[in-house]
Subunit: 437 residues, 2 copies
Amino acid sequence: MSSRDPSISSKKTSRVCEQKTAVIISAGTELTEGIIQDAHVRYIASELTSLGFAVRRGVQVPDDMALFRAELARAIADSCLVIITGGLGPTSDDLTREIVAEAAGVPLDFHQEAWNALRARLAGRTVSEANRKQALAPRGFALLPNPNGTAPGFQGRLGEALVVALPGPPSELRPMFTRSVLPLVADRFGAAAEVDVLWGTALMVPESSLEEALRTGAGADPRVRGVRWGTRVDEDRIVFSLRGGRSEERAALFDSLVTRLGPIRIRGGETRPAQLLTDALLSRNARIALAESCTGGLIGKYLTDLPGSSRVLWGGFIAYSNEAKKQLLGVGEDVLSEHGAVSEEAVLEMARGAVEASGVEAGLSVSGIAGPEGGTPEKPVGTIWIAVAQKGGACEARLFGFSGSRDMIRRRTAVAGMLFAEARLLGRVFLDTRAKW
Amino acid sequence: MSSRDPSISSKKTSRVCEQKTAVIISAGTELTEGIIQDAHVRYIASELTSLGFAVRRGVQVPDDMALFRAELARAIADSCLVIITGGLGPTSDDLTREIVAEAAGVPLDFHQEAWNALRARLAGRTVSEANRKQALAPRGFALLPNPNGTAPGFQGRLGEALVVALPGPPSELRPMFTRSVLPLVADRFGAAAEVDVLWGTALMVPESSLEEALRTGAGADPRVRGVRWGTRVDEDRIVFSLRGGRSEERAALFDSLVTRLGPIRIRGGETRPAQLLTDALLSRNARIALAESCTGGLIGKYLTDLPGSSRVLWGGFIAYSNEAKKQLLGVGEDVLSEHGAVSEEAVLEMARGAVEASGVEAGLSVSGIAGPEGGTPEKPVGTIWIAVAQKGGACEARLFGFSGSRDMIRRRTAVAGMLFAEARLLGRVFLDTRAKW
């Protein structure tokens, strides 16, 4: 194949490198057996596109020497940037180091400092011989530190291409990409001006509604006026970017989203609902107590995902059973028998009970039918009541109707609860949410 | 390139077709710009793997004639089944029909019956001339009906390969895949038997330790004896599969894992820690109350991920602050001041407090330092105490030391808590966990 011929290969890459071309390779038999979903191609493609790269393809390859080797040879022959994800684990089917070293015609070097860091990270735990492999890198390649895992990445040149290898777990890859790879790529290939990006976060907005609002928001065809957008769907939010065009055009499109979807649901910058509630509590010098039924602790989990959450979270109640609602929060037997646990009356008593039992300034309660069982004609799956109580102040409840799986309904409930509590704390009007979404 | 030479191409594919090889191509610039997530590769790869295919790669290509053409040429040269998704819309950047027709050296034929169906489907709406394109297919290819959209798929031979083209929207693709493609593929290539797989789950086991145990477990090299394995790392477990070899060999390798890592950590089949605790509670006709400090609700979240969790989960306490521990669970001021909230004494009182406040049969408490702040020389980040109380029975605590990020420490704590509670309920010996892992 032509890529084996260095003269042709280097000629080709010189040409394509003027165009900032890239290939993304995700390694792992679990990808080509459909056991897990590759999310790296999307994430990295979005980032590279914003830097002005044309991504020629994303590829999922199995842990197979011959197939992986062919993919790498093809990538370095037709692109100037090759990002490889996965295959850096300690196991025998993790092939990335070997494949890159072989393609470069160099041996693997043992990096004592990486080994020391790995041992420090695993302090006290048994470090197996298999882990030693994670301190290896092809000679001439530089290590990329991995603050969240045992496997460092590495980067270096292969022919005319810059090759970057990153570990597979998203919690390790994404910080490394932001901290190490973006600066490296910007430095090597010239940065697309990142000032030309307006970041925002959409909360409680279905992806299709956001897309519709983006498409129709800034007139008949905002693309004509040069504004492009990208979205990244996370567990609790959609992060979007508006790129290109003039800054007034990006601002106008953002404003149109706020007009269409409301200031509760569209926020500037990248943010998390738990951070918004945390900020609101800090600004009011208040702490919150939770009373979670159908979410079973998920709101507490989200709030405590953030380090330092003890400043704003007193604690709370997983009031899953009716006994727990009665015993812990003082919800009346009459309320439960007359209105049911999923009712305005029940969540109001739960939120008040959380404030009373804790003595803190705010209480947030949720009760609903997350499914898949338990729905009725009057209260179908997805029916959710949320209430917020403030010490010495009003207590207010809202009815929500969510669709989707049990998991989706629970996540949407947690997000809605945090945003409703934020709005109440800041004295903002919360949107009308009775419509299904 | 060799794939342009039909004689070589057909020779190659004859060889690989004995091995049931496949390539999946997802077409769309929105994929390579990271605007949307490709989910077809995973879905189709999983289906083809279960039919005994080796998926050689999944590829996302932009709507670009040259790149798409190269990808198709490569696929038909090295695989006997090529599935193309997307690129069947009415717009000018939908290229699949043209690319396949060009590769086959045939014109596009207009299908009146497809056009009639499309018009019927769009009844009343404006049918544009662009839509006529969706009634075209390469000559010699058969249409695949699309009950949920306007674009039919098509299938036929290209060289030695079977090429199937399907529309991009998942709601259209998936029913077509099930109804039309699976029968076609099974008929053409024969269906496979998946009986040769032994599934297992590893809990609280680092990936590298599992691999080490797999590699050395069944003798010097179990691969020689034909047993292969794969692992899938999830949030709360690692699922592994043992394939190939004789069933006694797979069983022997599984048994060696149990011997090495213990019956608490290695389980048969695919299971979740929350399911194991749920099953233990059901078998004892018991319910549990939680007292979570550093996990902040995560154990409750895991238990309520499972539908029907109200049978076993009474509810619990997010005892995040010291006040909450005192007020809700009756942890003594003296215990907190003398031993601290992260201590054997504190978790024992928390677990007992959960049983007392709830009146149910079992209480599970956790308190620890999840980081990144808050560690001390005596109690570094990752120090976790877990206790289980049983009504009218003993209360027992264990000390754990976890490493990793805040997120990882919290997840490991939740898993360890659920498994410790399971062991106590079933009267099983829990492993010694004081070692860091």
